[in-house]
């Protein structure tokens, strides 16, 4: 995949990857063996018919290939960029047993982008209106996918989003250099053209309660994400210069801190920035710090490169951009000066012991091995949990032990007609799983709404924020 040169891109926010030229994409597609029993499909969390779209691609039938792909996945231009293909479809690809797997992610992205640029993009056929109304909480990938599917099935859909822009993590979390926001804007515009109403600045649990939504809609889908940042509970976490990755990335992405001279949202840049964690979130944060001018931007991770849960490509890109890595290191305290500004991150060396429940080696601290990573900014990217705001205002909604929403195989909660999916059900997971949940919930809601007797609904009151 052609990319911006590292020394150029680490000073800008433009997308790193440049996309495959058509000629290369067709050559890559040729490598597919069009397996009868395609292992790649089994590796895809939503079972995209991969050999089918690749076959159409090799035949040069781009509109048909795009149509086939979009039928399985409404956001190929997104997932082609952010899915961890190397642990999903590409891991299973037969070609990978000897040599390189087919670059399925790159082909997906190629077709997704092709469809964006072509008016011939075939519209997916929509069912006649059913007269049923569905309310969706959260405009992240889960909510938007469900909205698209439900609209296509003929239902009237209203999406409620707490922030002032739809997209969820795709707009506030994942930076422009990995996922251009134009893609999200286009998808939102497409949904609106299909009749989906998106009401921003509407916090369910505050602006409207879940009970009100249940009274006004025939069914509800909750996809409010796992937005609650986890801190480490170590000394110094409230010093000035300590951010959660969510806050840091929201300031930089959603709010455009430093994007222009007029940007109203401030962000501390810091000459040296340390980011704690080994996932996509940590890498997004540390690479953002580099782009905002940090001389040194360091990842502090308690295991080794091999165990990093981030996408392989992002780790590689980060290395190319000069991000430093402190592997086998765990923070024990954040140090500050007399005026409470961060001056460094005190860490301890780790070694890998026995595998834990997840099969990954459990890190152990080596006594007496403490060392300091000097820095002005610390970004904590060790995970998120379910945001309790919505559930807290609806005690009858059943939760799981981690505070997520409990659902059955259909994605329905304990409340009839209320479905949930994405990170709020799975804990911090992936874009494609959230989309898969959105699609599954849409189908289940469709079935639910087709039952002979629909539950009584209060006469529709106008909903305006």
């Amino acid at each position: 995949m052609p990319a911006q040169a590292p020394e150029v891109r680490r000073a800008n926010f433009a997308e790193v990857n440049l996309g495959l030229p058509e000629r290369i994409a067709l050559l890559e597609a040729e490598r597919c063996l069009l397996c009868k029993d395609p292992k790649c499909v089994a590796g895809c969390p939503v079972g995209i018919n991969i050999p089918r779209f690749i076959q159409l691609l090799t035949e040069g039938k781009l509109p048909e290939a795009a149509h086939c792909l979009l039928n399985d996945n409404p956001l190929p231009a997104v997932t082609g960029r952010v899915c961890p293909q190397e642990t999903q479809c590409e891991l299973e690809c037969i070609r990978g047993y000897k040599g390189l797997p087919v670059a399925i992610g790159h082909l997906e992205r190629f077709l997704g982008d092709w469809a964006r640029g072509h008016a011939q993009r075939p519209a997916l056929e929509a069912a006649p209106p059913t007269g049923k109304q569905v309310g969706i909480v959260g405009a992240g990938p889960g909510g938007l996918t469900a909205a698209g599917e439900l609209a296509r099935l003929g239902h009237q859909v209203t999406v409620f989003e707490a922030l002032h822009k739809p997209g969820g993590v795709l707009v506030y979390g994942i930076p422009e250099f990995r996922l251009p926001k134009q893609i999200v804007r286009e998808e939102v515009a497409r949904l609106e053209r299909a009749g989906v109403k998106i009401l921003c600045n509407t916090v369910i649990g505050r602006t409207y309660t879940l009970a009100e939504l249940r009274a006004r809609f025939d069914a509800v889908f909750i996809a409010n994400g796992a937005g609650l940042p986890v801190f480490m509970n170590i000394p110094g976490e409230n010093l000035k210069g300590v951010y959660s990755a969510n806050e840091y990335l929201t300031r930089a992405n959603l709010m455009g801190a430093r994007r222009s001279a007029r940007a109203g949202t401030p962000i501390l840049t810091g000459r040296r920035v340390a980011t704690i964690g080994g996932g996509n979130v940590a890498l997004d944060a540390v690479r953002t710090a580099k782009r905002l001018g940090a001389e040194s931007a360091t990842i502090v991770y308690r295991r080794t490169r091999k165990e990093m849960p981030a996408r392989a490509e992002e780790v590689l890109h980060a290395e190319e951009e000069g991000i430093q890595f402190e592997f086998l290191a765990a923070p024990v305290a954040i140090q500050g000066d007399a005026r409470n500004w961060v001056t460094g991150l005190q860490c301890v060396r780790m070694e890998l012991g026995e595998p834990d429940a997840s099969g990954r080696a459990r890190p152990r601290a080596i006594p007496g091995s403490e060392f300091l990573v000097p820095c002005e900014v610390v970004i904590v990217a060790i995970g998120t949990r379910a945001n309790p705001l919505l559930a807290g205002t609806c005690p009858e909604l059943k939760l799981d032990s981690r505070g997520g929403i409990a659902v059955d195989e259909q994605g329905m909660t304990n409340l009839p007609g209320v479905f949930a999916g994405g990170d709020i059900v799975r804990g911090a997971a992936t874009v494609i799983l959230a989309m898969g949940d959105g699609k599954r919930a849409a189908r289940a809601i469709h079935e639910y709404l087709r039952r002979p007797v629909s539950p009584a609904r209060a006469p529709a009151e106008r909903i305006t924020p």
Binding site: A162, L163, H164, Y172, C200, N201, T202, V203, R206, T207, Y208, G227, L228, P229, F231, N233, E237, N238, K240, Y243, S244, N246, E247, T250, R251, M255, G256, R259, S260, R262, A263, G264, T265, P266, L268, N340, N387, P388, L389, T464, P465
Partner: protein, 279 residues
């Protein structure tokens, strides 16, 4: 889009905006706030709902010009609009059901005290208020509060009412006894002083905290405060907390995080095209 319906200048640095927000006007409760985003490159900032007219569908925001964002908001005129207002956010004030309440407000915090006093009065609680500001011009919401009960006004320079801090008047009021609860909203040092005053007396004291916020939904943790040794997110767990448990020093410190940025931006803004009151 939320149209500005009316605008008034309460003091040289404090502007009152009545803004269309039908749903919020209908359901807001005392103590709740909104996140306001003027649009475009602007910052998201929390503002308390000082008052609301459910019938007209408007909420009242009181804005003290302290940085670029507040400067730009204060420059908006009737007919213009604010792109995004989300809310009502935060937990409503814990209002006592009967008895006597002392409401203490400093500076623009008086705008926060006002709906609390209204809510208390509606429940039949006896309300008295102590409000303060640096000078006579800085005193806001005095007539509105007088309608709800006794009001003592304090100014730092003695240009109006009693000379001195609200805490001096509060000390006297508390000494007289009979106060069941204190609500204190204002600059952090004022809230801390009030909490220190009431702690030995064992009078429950509720304060409304104003940390830096971004989303206002519990997603970023930027608004974290320490209460009783625990980290709480003011936007979803608050904004009101037990004043006797709040770590005010930490709050004050964290509030200075962007001071340089704010002062530079404010200077640029006041020199530039958004000078207070005009475009």
């Amino acid at each position: 889009m939320h149209k500005i319906i009316a605008k008034a200048s309460l003091s040289p640095q404090i502007i009152r905006l009545d803004v269309a927000a039908v749903r919020i006007a209908r359901i807001r409760q005392p103590g709740q706030f909104v996140i306001v985003h003027r649009g475009g490159d602007a910052e998201r900032i929390p503002l308390t709902i000082a008052d609301a007219d459910a019938e007209a569908g408007t909420i009242t925001l009181v804005i003290q010009v302290a940085g670029q964002s507040t400067c730009e908001l204060a420059a908006l005129n009737p007919g213009e609009a604010i792109a995004n207002i989300a809310g009502p956010l935060g937990h409503p004030t814990e209002l006592i059901a009967a008895g006597r309440a002392l409401c203490i407000g400093g500076g623009v915090g008086v705008a926060v005290v006002h709906p609390i006093a209204q809510g208390l009065k509606r429940r039949g609680v006896t309300v008295s208020s102590i409000i303060g500001g640096r000078t006579r011009e800085a005193i806001i919401f005095e007539p509105e509060l007088r309608r709800l009960g006794e009001v003592i006004v304090c100014t730092d320079d003695g240009s109006y009412g009693r000379r001195g801090f609200v805490t001096d008047a509060a000390r006297d009021a508390l000494a007289a006894g009979g106060i069941d609860i204190v609500y204190a909203v204002g600059p952090v040092p004022m809230m801390r002083a009030v909490a220190n005053l009431t702690r030995p007396l064992g009078v429950r004291t509720i304060v409304s905290l104003n940390p830096i916020m971004v989303d206002g939904t519990g997603m970023c943790g930027g608004c974290r405060v320490s209460v009783g040794g625990q980290t709480r997110f003011a936007c979803v767990d608050g904004p009101e907390f037990d004043g006797h448990a709040v770590d005010f020093e930490q709050l004050m410190d964290r509030l200075t995080t962007y001071r340089d940025f704010e002062q530079r931006a404010l200077a640029a803004c006041q020199e530039g095209d958004c000078k207070l009151g005009r475009r």
